[in-house]
Subunit: 239 residues, 2 copies
């Protein structure tokens, strides 16, 4: 794989001037590494949770989600390599926090797995979209593409709402579960922000780059929470 | 999904005259159901075995194989639906024998998983290619496409040979394992042949359709065994 691909190869893959700033380059590689490992571990988790499917049809839906995550992973890995970095080194710092998130939120049954797929992926997608606002257009497009959802979410909403209709106690249990997912995600995100200086610097900006001040970061968390609550509501769960 | 797609939609998806014979149609649906469930369960097994990967790079290779199997599954499922059958009903008769195969051949470590991926998929591919000779061109092309391998096999060969180089006892253990895989596969295939009349009839032919006599079936098994032995040899294992 070439470390750098010129604009003539594919206009979406050009390496803009911003990458001549090593701090910026490190931050983008960090960001892509985090998302790539997130997709890879989403693949693993969905494939694992698919085992709990009550019917082959349901298993196929989760396997389809898993395969799509893996497809996104491939695109992110290639982009990291194009930027001249080692994709596996770039992912390494995020393995522990993301693995820990999954260990702490291992679903006990099929419905918890569905809620996690929906709420967890939604939250991750929102966060990455927020961060994507601070990177170059090529990287941003790749990130946005990798967050695309092809309608599996509807399948989750349908199954969860039907389960709540059938037994209202399920709704209370899954609502608690959704809150726990949000709490664990925030706690791991905080850990990453504290440890990854380049990534944090990307969000807080620099002398020559706009960024977020503390108030803006607060507003971002408000938006993330609001969207999470909307998703819970869509599932028929109290936020 | 339309039960029947006309030739104008996609020339490879036309429904030839042969399908007006309900026995033939049932046999092809059976065959596609068997391969589809085989791919789906290969996805599951590879995703499961990926957990044993010694490094993230290895895990990614197995996840890539799993995702590709799932892609093939999708194409087979769609073809079954186009033939007017329910893909999940078509897969159902093969769930138990294929699941049993996997239960009886659960790898105990990463290397056994690699050998199983290589030897098992190779054997399945050989068998399906043999059977594909007896079906219409559209179905045959789909089957052949779904067997395409995109170089992951090289990765397996590399890892297994390196492991044997590092410790020769590994070779003896994996050679035994390869023989067990072949034995289990034959025993499950025999079970399927005994239970699925339409599928067996496809192989043995009809008044208006060429088929295999007992001698030809014997020769087919000889070919399957020879190819299996070649694969074992490629891996550096005594057949």
């Amino acid at each position: 794989m070439d470390p750098v691909v010129g604009p003539q190869a594919d206009p979406s893959l050009d390496i803009p001037l911003a990458f001549s700033d090593p701090t910026y380059l490190a931050a983008v590689v960090d960001l892509l590494g985090a998302i790539a490992y997130g997709e890879m571990s989403a693949f693993e988790r969905l494939a694992e949770d698919a085992k709990m499917a009550p019917a082959l049809e349901d298993k196929v839906e989760l396997a389809a989600m898993a395969s799509r995550e893996f497809g996104h992973f491939g695109a992110l890995r290639d982009r990291i390599a194009e930027l001249g970095a080692d994709p596996f080194e770039a992912m390494q710092p995020f393995q522990k926090p993301i693995d820990d998130f999954h260990v702490h939120t291992a679903p006990r049954d099929w419905l918890e797995g569905l809620v996690k797929a929906y709420v967890g992926d939604g939250l991750a997608a929102d966060f990455y979209r927020e961060v994507a606002a601070f990177v170059d257009a090529g990287t941003r497009d790749l990130i946005i593409d990798s967050l695309e959802d092809s309608g599996q979410a509807e399948f989750v909403v349908d199954r969860v709402r039907k389960a709540i209709d059938a037994d209202h106690r399920v709704g209370g249990r899954l609502a608690l579960w959704g809150r726990r997912l949000m709490g664990e995600a925030l706690s791991q995100a905080q850990r990453v922000a504290a440890e990854r200086d380049a990534l944090s610097a990307l969000l807080s900006g620099g002398v020559d780059r706009p960024g977020m001040d503390l108030a803006a970061i607060g507003r971002m968390f408000t938006r993330l929470t609001e969207n999470h609550n909307k998703r819970m509501d869509t599932l028929g769960l109290a936020p």
